[in-house]
Symmetry: none
Subunit: 415 residues, 2 copies
């Protein structure tokens, strides 16, 4: 079954946003065994959108649109779909009630144009939106059996609707298509080419499963993709290849699939029944925020202090004034005192201290932007790492956060 | 001049990477006055790619491809372009030498297939790649004056080639196209349809400038886009319309273009010479991290405490134990004590307390997931806001952070 994704929205054509809906849908549809062969983007213009949908319907069996289901005059995707398939629009009472209820529950005031979202092409299957007000729509072209599916544009609404309703519809309506299954080994600490060198043999030999290396925000992901008649067989193929690759990348692999670095750190803390607290300077709370992205993190994270001023470092984290005066706020000694200070004050098993220069200002002759010290204190003793990170202020914060979590992970593995 | 972007690469169809080339090219081309009306993605398949390029050449004057110029058998974009325009391929000696030199300089071993990158369509203009080995190509269709431009896939190679060579080519070959200029008014606090209702008159009347509403992570952006012969004239058109819209949205507008909520809060603190500290529970440091995303934020942020446990709330932020026992950790009273406690301890002008249930666990009969209290304490007195946010744990953290920053912004505007 051939699928074309049609992304609508002038903001995409103007390059104002990056399209994350297309890769999400494409990845999921491939896993379900569908072939996404085309993706097209068109603006909120009736004639051009209609032509694009017409072309899509000629070359694909299923056309999935995203965007343009909202309440404004620029939201025309459903109308264009209806017009292409010669269906009149009508007010779908259940959707209208649903929208009214959403506004009441959120204590918001509903305006008339919100009811545009309840206008549906005749004969369409209306799909509930559990995260927003715009329902989705499935319209079949009787003569050909081809289908247009309209999904909302906001990524979390689209993803929720896809998982809750569209997966079931597609698998029921079009049958099982065999299964492409992927598994991602998330690594950190090896460069892309060094990593490739280690598993070269398997990259050259690949056919099914295939292997791909993807650089992702400082991590390198090794994706293994297998295609077989059933999911079980695909998984079996992946398991075999993973078993061969795993020993070659060992300590660099921190997670599988959706397992983030903070999830991995959290699991290690939980398993060892340890607690943690951080004293963050240049990262400004980012590391703690990432740790708290994991549900249940209150079981091991007691708290943190963001010490953005020297007063907070000395008075509330216990860094001696003379250390800051003699070694500087960005120094190994300060980082170590921060780790020890926060551990003692918050009475945790592990204390972490992070200090550095995120830039663009703050560099001195000997201390460039990007210099960062990360210290850990715990039952395995004190360690401190010096890093020179490149990039913008946000890059440096991000890279420091990732490195910190990875150092903590390695520290925990030794306990 | 109508442009279609054609992105090639099976990894895009599989959803393995996010396409950042399309938004980059679209934004730059619009700035240069070209209209990007279509973007299409197709895999490394000769027949389908040829058909996609054919369709593109029918509906656009200029087709810009990205990807598929590399050395592997899957890199077919140039060949398909040549075949569509009936041009034979030949070995371009200068490119071959360039590629050889690149490998020598980088002490790499060149394999024969690298010379595939020096094969060019007859009559094509070859564009040097200063960041990699695959040259770009410009091929004109004599009969129509239409053009296909092949750019490499790696984003930094594509961007460098575009800026160094393609901009000059396009402006020389197609003349200056006038200038499209956009300005974004970032708003928070009004729903999309309520906002549309307020500026309906201008949305209905739009022609040049155009007006678009874009929902972005809890913010609504109003984009004004003007097209005129020169940038100055476009800016003038935007200024006029902004002057009319501004009074209707007034307090909801927090920033222009790239001005984030945290930037706006920072500017207000700086202008008033005030300092701030936060006690964050459910946001886990996210608000402080966002505040520190702004360069120079150490001038007004002294620090924060992430109080993820009751011990940290009572011992280090000064929330009375009996308040937590009687009202609960998630309550207006606790939030207010957190705001006051952190302000007094860190001796800042403003203290902020945030407590809530980020979920998925932790809800009680009276306190659902998403219930959040945000308190502010300062010279204008104590305020506290109750919110019921929807979504995942990360959504709730994000929405709480945005609401907090906006409450602080409004608080500062009253001082």
């Amino acid at each position: 079954m051939i699928i074309e994704l049609v992304n609508t929205g002038t903001e995409l054509l103007l390059g104002q946003i990056v399209n994350t809906n297309a890769p999400f849908l494409a990845a999921r549809l491939n896993e379900l065994g569908f072939s996404v062969l085309y993706q097209t983007t068109v603006g909120d213009n009736r004639e051009r959108m209609k032509n694009v949908l017409k072309t899509a319907l000629e070359r694909a069996n299923i056309v999935i649109t995203s965007g343009g289901l909202g309440p404004t005059q620029g939201d025309i995707t459903k109308e264009v779909t209806a017009s292409l398939l010669n269906k009149p629009m009508y007010l779908h009472e259940a959707s209208a009630e649903q929208i009214q209820r959403f506004f009441t529950e959120h204590r918001l005031c509903m305006t008339d144009n919100n009811l545009r979202q309840a206008m549906m092409p005749e004969g369409a299957q209306v799909i509930e939106n559990t995260c927003g007000t715009a329902p989705g729509v499935i319209v079949e072209q009787e003569a050909t059996g081809k289908v247009i599916i309209n999904l909302p544009g906001p990524p979390h609404e689209l993803a929720a609707m896809f998982e809750k309703s569209i997966v079931t519809y597609l698998t029921k309506r079009f049958g099982v298509q065999g299964a492409i299954v992927s598994r991602v080994l998330r690594t950190y600490g090896l460069g892309e080419s060094a990593l490739e060198e280690r598993i070269k043999k398997y990259i050259s030999a690949q056919s099914n499963p295939t292997l791909a290396l993807l650089a992702r925000n400082g991590e390198i992901h090794v994706r293994i993709t297998a295609r077989a008649a059933s999911e079980t067989e695909s998984v079996q193929l992946i398991n075999e290849l993973e078993g061969q690759i795993q020993p070659l990348l060992n300590e660099y692999i921190f997670g599988i699939d959706e397992e983030t670095m903070e999830k991995s750190v959290g699991s290690l803390l939980l398993a060892r029944k340890l607690t943690i607290a951080l004293a963050e300077s240049c990262t400004g709370g980012l590391v703690t925020s990432r740790i708290t992205d994991v549900p249940g993190s209150s079981q091991y994270l007691l708290g943190s202090i963001v010490c953005y001023s020297n007063t907070v470092k000395t008075r509330y984290v216990g860094v001696p004034e003379k250390i800051i005066a003699s070694k500087g706020a960005v120094s190994q000694e300060t980082a170590e005192c921060m780790a020890q200070g926060i551990k003692e004050r918050f009475q945790t098993s592990i204390g972490v201290g992070i200090t550095g220069i995120a830039g663009p200002d703050g560099a001195t002759e000997n201390k460039p932007v990007g210099l960062v010290y990360i210290a850990i204190d715990g039952s395995a003793g004190k360690v401190c790492y010096e890093h020179y990170f490149k990039g913008t202020r946000l890059d440096i914060k991000h890279r420091t956060a990732l490195a910190t979590l990875n150092h903590v992970r390695h520290y925990l593995l030794t306990i």
